[in-house]
Symmetry: C4
Subunit: 480 residues, 4 copies
C-alpha cells in the first residue's frame, strides 16, 4: 500500500455517515460502509469513528490483518496524509460513557432501560411510596407473587440447532385478532396513580406496538375514551359483576356498542387479599365501621362487586353480550374443565398476581396441571396466562406449553412511569428478547412451539395428577 495516494484529514472527515463511512486505521484509510452491519461488535462501534482515526480502539481488539481480511481490496482508499493533521482532527470522538448516575429520586433516561426489571427498580426509587406499595404489593407473605417468577426460572429449554432461522416472526392471534406478539397488557386498578395518561397511554402504546390491552372495570378511563385515543388497539374488557346486577347489564350494553373484542370475567376475586405493604401505609386511617384506627382493610374494604357469582351466571352474561367470554383467574385443571363444559371461549390462568389468596399455585404450574389432567382443552379453547412474566424467554416457555398469549400487569404499570413511551419500550424489549430466543431455540414462527422444546423436570413433581389429594383418602363428614 506504499504507493497509494495520500488523503487529507479534511477529505476523510466528510465520510462520516452510515451511508458513507471511512475510517483511519494505522494510517490506512478504509471505506467501511458495506461492512457496518456485518461488524461482529455491532455497527455503533464503527460509526462512532466515522470520518476519524480509529487506530487506538481498533488495536485494543484486532490484529492489523483483520481489516484487510474483512474488507475487499477496493475498500482501501489510500493513506492518511499526516501533514494535514490539525487540532480538529485530534479531538476525541464523543466518548462512550456508561449511563450517568442519576440524582436520587429522578428517573434515568429511558434509553438506559434494558429490561423489565429496570422499570420496577426505577419505580421503587422514583414513584411515591403509596404508588409503589400499591403496585408491588401482594397477599400476606407474597409467596405466590414471588413463586410466579421462581417457577418460570425452573423451566428450561431444549433448543434445536441447524435450523434455518434467518427470518423470525413472533406474530400471533388472540381470539382471531392478529397481534404482532402474543402479549397483552393486563387490567390494573388505580392506574392513574402511576401516570396521568393511565390506560390511554397504555392503549396508544399497545396500538403502536401491535399488542392487545385489557382494561379493568375499575380503569381510570372508560373504554370509550381509550378507544378514542387508540382506535386500533385490540381492546378487551375485564369484568367484575356488580352487586346491583342491573349496573352490570348497563355496562355490558354499553360495551356492546364499542369496538371491544372480548369480556374477561374475573373469577378469582370473591374476596379481597390482605396486602400488607399497602395496609401498613394506611394503619392510621380510621375504620368507619369500628370508629377506630388500624388494620382490617381486608375486611372493611367495601366492594361493589358481587361475591355470589357462580357457574350458573355464565348463562346470564352470555344473554347480555355476544362478545367472546373468557374466565380470568382459573387456578385448577378442575375448574378449567368446568369452564369447557360451560362453553366459554377461553380461560386465563391467573392468581391475580398473588394479590388475593397467598399460596395459590404459581401460574405456570396450572398450565402443567392441565397437561396432566385435561390436555384436550388446548385444542378446544384458547388458554391465556399471566403471573411472573418478565422476559421474552418466560413468554416462550408458556407458549411451548400451550398458552395462546401471555399477559403482563405490574411490568407494564412500572413502565407506565415513563408514559406511553415507557410502555412501548417495554414491548420493544420483550419483542427483541423473544426474537433472539426463537432463533436460538431453532424456530421461526409460533406455529412451531411445542412442549418438547422445554424441560419441566424440576417442577413436574409439584403438579397434581388428580383432582383429589393423591394419598389423603379421608374426606370429612359434616363437621359442625
Amino acid at each position: 500500500m506504499e504507493d497509494s495516494r495520500l488523503i487529507s484529514t479534511q477529505e476523510i472527515s466528510q465520510h462520516n455517515s452510515p451511508e458513507d463511512c471511512w475510517l483511519v486505521i494505522d494510517d490506512g484509510v478504509w471505506d467501511c460502509t458495506s461492512f457496518i452491519n456485518d461488524h461482529p461488535g455491532g455497527p455503533a462501534l464503527i460509526l462512532r469513528y466515522a470520518g476519524r482515526d480509529a487506530t487506538k480502539e481498533y488495536s485494543e481488539i484486532h490484529t492489523p490483518s483483520t481489516v484487510r481480511n474483512s474488507l475487499s481490496p477496493e475498500c482501501f482508499k489510500g493513506n492518511l496524509d499526516r501533514s494535514t493533521i490539525d487540532s480538529t482532527w485530534l479531538q476525541s470522538p464523543t466518548p462512550s460513557n456508561p449511563a450517568q448516575a442519576v440524582p436520587d429520586g429522578e428517573k434515568p433516561p429511558l434509553h438506559t432501560v434494558i429490561n423489565l426489571y429496570d422499570f420496577e427498580d426505577i419505580s421503587r426509587r422514583t414513584s411515591s411510596p403509596k404508588t409503589y406499595a400499591f403496585t408491588s404489593t401482594a397477599s400476606t407473605d407474597c409467596w405466590t407473587r414471588d413463586q410466579n417468577i421462581a417457577m418460570l426460572r425452573r423451566i428450561w429449554f431444549r433448543p434445536r440447532v441447524l435450523r434455518d432461522v434467518k427470518a423470525v416472526d413472533p406474530a400471533s392471534e388472540i381470539l382471531g385478532v392478529r397481534t404482532r406478539m402474543p402479549v397483552f397488557i393486563c387490567p390494573t386498578g388505580l392506574t392513574k396513580m402511576m401516570h396521568p395518561g393511565a390506560e390511554k397511554a397504555m392503549g396508544r402504546a399497545a396500538e403502536g406496538e401491535g399488542i392487545a390491552q385489557i382494561i379493568s372495570t375499575n380503569s381510570s378511563f372508560p373504554a370509550e375514551e381509550i378507544l378514542n385515543e387508540a382506535p386500533g388497539v385490540p381492546l378487551m374488557f375485564q369484568l367484575y359483576v356488580n352487586k346491583e346486577r342491573k349496573k352490570t347489564e348497563e355496562l355490558l350494553a354499553k360495551l356492546n356498542t364499542l369496538n371491544v373484542r372480548a369480556i374477561f370475567l374475573t373469577v378469582d376475586a370473591a374476596g379481597r387479599g390482605k396486602r400488607e405493604s399497602d395496609e401498613r401505609l394506611r394503619v392510621d386511617e380510621v375504620n368507619p365501621v369500628t370508629g377506630k384506627k388500624g388494620g382490617g382493610l381486608t375486611k372493611i374494604a367495601g366492594s361493589a362487586f358481587d361475591q355470589g357469582v357462580t357457574w350458573d351466571d355464565i348463562k346470564w352474561i352470555r344473554s347480555l353480550t355476544k362478545l367472546p367470554l373468557i374466565l380470568k383467574g382459573i387456578m385448577t385443571a378442575s375448574d378449567a374443565k368446568l369452564a369447557m363444559e360451560h362453553k366459554v371461549d377461553g380461560v386465563m390462568l391467573s392468581n391475580h398476581g398473588g394479590r388475593n389468596l397467598d399460596f395459590t399455585p404459581p401460574s405456570i404450574l396450572i398450565l402443567l396441571e392441565m397437561h396432566r389432567q385435561c390436555p384436550e382443552i388446548f385444542d378446544q379453547m384458547e388458554v391465556y396466562i399471566d403471573g411472573g412474566f418478565r422476559r421474552g424467554v418466560d413468554i416462550l416457555k408458556a407458549l411451548c406449553l400451550g398458552a395462546k398469549a401471555v399477559g403482563l400487569g405490574r411490568p407494564f404499570l412500572f413502565a407506565l412511569n415513563y408514559g406511553e413511551e415507557g410502555v412501548r419500550k417495554a414491548v420493544d424489549i420483550l419483542r427483541e428478547e423473544m426474537e433472539s430466543a426463537m432463533k436460538l431455540l431453532g424456530i421461526t414462527d409460533l406455529s412451531q412451539v411445542h412442549p418438547g422444546l422445554v424441560n419441566t423436570s424440576d417442577v413436574d413433581h409439584l403438579v397434581p395428577s388428580t383432582l383429589d389429594h393423591p394419598y389423603a383418602k379421608w374426606r370429612p363428614k359434616a363437621r359442625l
Copy 2:
C-alpha cells in the same frame, strides 16, 4: 350540570358523617353516602373527605367521569359556591400518615400491628432479654422450630372459583364445645414474665373472641382464678404427671370440680430440651450439684414431673376424671394408632414448639403421615395440631388435612405483651385472615374443607409410609 344550584361550603361541611356524607369533586357536590361501602378503595378514603373538597386526591386516581358512572344522578346535589370558600374550608383534612417511628424499646400503638409476626418482632425489641429468650428459644439448632413454619409454607392451595361465598363463617366445635374459630391458645410456662395478667388476660381474650384456652400445669394462675375472671372461656388443662402421683390425684380431683372441659396429657416432655439462647443467659449461675458455674441446665434443671409415665398409666388417669383425655405431643402415626387403641378422646400432634427434641418432625408432616398410615383415625377421634402456625392460611391448610382445631403458643404469648387487648387483636387478625382465605378458596364454612383443596406435592416425599425405615432392613441384635 350547569344549571344546578350553588351550595355553600358551610352547608357542605355539615354532611360529614358515615350516615350523611357529601364530597366536592371538580366543583360538583355529590352525596356519597350510599356508595361509601362500595368504594373499591375502602370507605375510609371517602370518609376522610366527608363534607370537604376531595378533588386533589380523587384526580390522582380517577378520571372525571368515574363519579358520574358510579353514582346515580340524584346523588348530584349541585355545584360548589366558590364565593363561600374561606380559611376553614381550605384547611387540609387530617393527613393520612404512615405509622410514626416509635422510640427504641417502646411498643408501637396496637393498631399498627397487622399480623402475628409483628407481635414477635415487637417483643424482640421491647421485652426483657430473658423474657424474649425464654419465649423464642427452642432445642439446640432450632431446626424443628423453624421447619414447623417452613413446611407449612411448602403446602399450597388448590382454590375453586365461581362459588357463592357472600357469607363465610369459620365457626367450629372442639370436643363438642362451640367456638367462633377452630383455634386455641396453647399452654405456656412462665407466662407472667410477659405480662402480669398472664393466663387471666388470655382467658378474658379467649372468652371475648370465642376461642378455647389450654392452661399449663405450670400456669402462673391456677384454673379457678382464670375461670373467675373469664367464666365463659372453654378452658382445658394441660397435665404433667407429678413424680408424687398423689399430687396429680389431688390436682385432678380439684379440676373435676371446675368448669374445665378436657385434660391434655403432655407425652413429649419425658426429658428437657437443651434450649441454648436461654442457657446462654444463665451460664454464670452456679450449678448446685457441682458447685461450679456453667452449662448443664438440660441435665440439672430439676423436674417435679414423672419421666416414667407409660401407656399403662392412661387407665389410672381415666380412673381419676371423667373429662375427655387428649394426648399432647404425638409425633408418629404409630403412636397415634396406639392412642386410638387406648381409646383416648383425641391426639394433639405437637413437637412442643421444637423446644424439646430437635429434629422431631415438623407438625404438619405428622398430619400427612397419619393420612398415609392411618386415615381411619380422623373419623374416630379429634386430631389437633400446633407448631408454626402464624397465619389464617396456615390454619386452613391443617383443617383441609383433617385437623379439628389448631393451637398457637408463642404468637399468643408475644401478643400478651399488650395484655388482653393484644391477644384479642391476634385472634381478630387470624379470623380476618381465615375469612378472606375461605372466600378465595371457594368455601363458606368448615364442613367444606377436604384434602383436595391443598397441594402437598412439595413435601410428600418427606412423609414415611411405613412404621419402619423403608429400606433399612437391619435391626440390631442386643448391642451391649
Copy 3:
C-alpha cells in the same frame, strides 16, 4: 398465716445452703430445701436466694398461690419480722450476669462454652491463623466437609412417647472395650500446634470421661508416652504404611508390646488433598523442586507413606499383629463388601473430614448406601463413622442407622484449645445432649436404637442402590 411466729432476718440468713434453704416470699418464710431439685426453673434460681428475700423475682413469674400449692404446709416457717430488716438484708444477691464480653483474641472462660460449635468459633478467634487454617481446612471447595454436616441435618427423628425413660445410659462397647459413650477421638496431625499437651491431654480427657482415643501415625507424642499419661484410655492406632515397609513392621512390633486395642489402617489418603486455606498461607514458600515460590503443595508435599497399598497387603499386616484391624476411609458399599471379604474386623466410614478428595460422599450417606446394598455387614463386623458430627443428636442418628461408634476429629481439636479440661467439657456436652435426646426419643439404652427411629426421606434419593451408575450403561473401551 396471721398467727404464725415472726422470724428475724438474722435467723433466716443462716438457712442459706442447698441442705437448708429458706426463702422469703411476700413476707412469708418458706423452707424450700425439699423442693430445690423439683423447681421447674432449676435449682440455681432458688439457691441464689437461699436465706434471703426472693419476692421480687418470684412475683415476676409466679402467682402468690404457687408457693402454697408447691410446698407442703409444714414448709411454712412463719412471717418475716420486718423490724429486723437492716442494710445487710437489703443488699442484693450477686446478680446473674450473662457471660461478659471477652477482649479480642482472648479465650472466654470455659464454663461459658455450651456446645461444640462454640469451641470452633473460639479457635477461629484465638488460635494462630496457621493453626486455625490447618485445622479447619478441607479440600478445594470444601463441599464434602460442609455436606458432612448438612446431610446429618437432613435426617430427622421419629420419636416414640409414653415409654419409661427415668433412667438412661449411653454406655456402649467398641471392639469389646466398654466405653461410657460410643464416641472416640479421631486421629489428627500437628496436634501440638493447638496445645502443647496434644494427644497426652486428649488421652487424659478420654480416660477421665470413659471414651476411646485413636492416635495418628503422625501424632505429636508416641503411643507409649500417651499410655504413660493415661494408662486407662482405650487407645487405638491409626496406621499409614511407610514407603519403607520395614519401618511399618518395626512400628507394629512396638505397638504389639503396648496396651493398644486396635489398628485403624487409613485407606483414603493415597494422595494428598488440595487444602486451599492452608495453601494460601504458604504461597511464599520456595518450592525446592522448582526453585520457585508458590502453589503446588498438593503435589510437592512429600510423603513418607506408601501410595501403593492394596487389598493384598491386608494379609501382610495381619502377619505383623494380632490386634483387631479396621479400615478407615471406606466410602462405598462396594469397598465395605470387599472389606468383609478380606475379613477385617471393622470399617470406618470416613472421607477424611473432606480434607482429601472433595465431592466424596458425605459420611452419613455411606451408611445409608450400606443399608441399600449390603445390610448383612452390620451383623458381621463393627461399623464406625466420622465426618460432621457436632451434636448428641448427630451421634444418635448414626447409631440408629447401625454405626457402632462415632468419631470426632476437628471438634475435639478445637476443644483442645483449652487443654484437657476443654476436651472433657466437649465430651460432657455430648453426653448431656445424648442423654436428653435418648429420653425424648423414647429409649433408655443403646440396644434399643434401630432405623425405624429416623426419617431419611429427605436424602434417600441421593443414595445409590447399585454398584454401577443406575442408568449410564456405557463403559469405556480402552481410551488411550
Copy 4:
C-alpha cells in the same frame, strides 16, 4: 548423645542446600537430607531452616522424640557448640509471610494464584470494566452460566480405595492427537482486549503444557500467525459460516494448507444472546438504524454470519475440507443423534457459556441426557464438553460420564490477564488437581474412568428420558 562431638555454627551453616541439609533441634545437629521429601509437612518447611536452628518451629509441632524416630541414628551428627553462636547465627531465616496485600487495581504476583477462581477474581479487580464485562457476561439472567457450575457441584464421586496409585497420568488423545491432559482452550472473541498476546500467548502456553487449542473465526490473530509462534500446538478451528459462503470456502481452503487438526462448526449461535452487563456499558451508543441511543444490541449487532445454516450444509463443508468435523453447541440428545446420522466426527456439548440463550441446559446434564437416550454414541464418535469447568474434579466428572475432553473458555481468558505464563499456570493447576483427584479416586490413567465412579442422584430427575415432553401429550396444530 552426651559424648557426641560439638559442631560449630560455622560448620553447620554450610550444610544449607537440598543436597546437603543439616538442622539444629534442641542443640542436636541432624542431617535431614534423606528425609526432606518424606516430611509430612512438605520439604519447604525443612529447607527454610537448612543450616540453621529449627528448634522453635519444630517444638510447636513435634515432640522431642519425633526426630529420633524419623531419622536413622547415623543422621545425628553431634551437638551444637553453643560457644560459636554469633550474631549471624541468631538472625532469623526469611520469614514465611502470607501473600502481601496488593494495591487496588494491581495484579498480585502470579505465584499467589492457587486456583482458577483466583484468575477471575483478579480480572474483576484489575481488567478494564469493558474487558471484564465482555468476558464475564452471559445472556439475560445468567441462569445457564451459573448453573453450568452449580450442576457440576451436584455430581459426586464414588471413590475406590486400596488401589495402587503410586504412578498417575492424565494423558489422553483428542481426535488421535496425543495431549498431556484431556483439556483444550475454547475459542473466544476479542481475546486481545485481555492481553495483546491473545491467541499467540495462549498457543505458546498450550504447546508448552501439551494441551489443545481451538481458535475462533473471530480470533485476534489468524491461524497461520499462531502456528508460527507455536508450531507444536494441536490447533483446531472454530468456524462460523459467513453469509457470503464464498468467504467460508476461501477460509477453509487456507486452513487446509495449515497444520490445523479439526474444524469445530458452531451450531448454537444462530442469533445473538442478550448480554446485559455488556449492554449496560453501551447504552449511550447511538443505534445507527434508529438514530437513537440505547439498547437493542441483541438485535442490531450486525453479524457477518449465516443464520440459515442447516444439517444439509454439512455435506457442503465436507466437500471443502478433509479435516475432522465437530459440531459445537449440541444441547439435546436428539441433535446428538442427528449429528451421528450425519456422520460428523464428534460433537461438543456446549451452551456457549450461557452467552446465547439463557435457560439452555447446563452442559453436564446434556451428557447425562445422552446416557439416557443414546449411549451408543459414545462408542461411535468423540464427545467433548465445555461450560462451567473450573477444577480438576469437574473435568474428571465429565470424563467418567463419557466426555473425551473438556474445554475451558473464560478461565483461560482470565488467566491470559498474565499472558502466556498465566495460561500455563492455569493448566498446571488443573493438572495438579486432576492428578491428586485421580489418586484419591483410585485410578491411575484415564482408561479407568467409568460412570460407576460418580453419583448423579442429585440431578438425575432433571434429565429428560424422552425426546418429547414426558407428560404433555398435546402438540399444537398450526397456530396462525
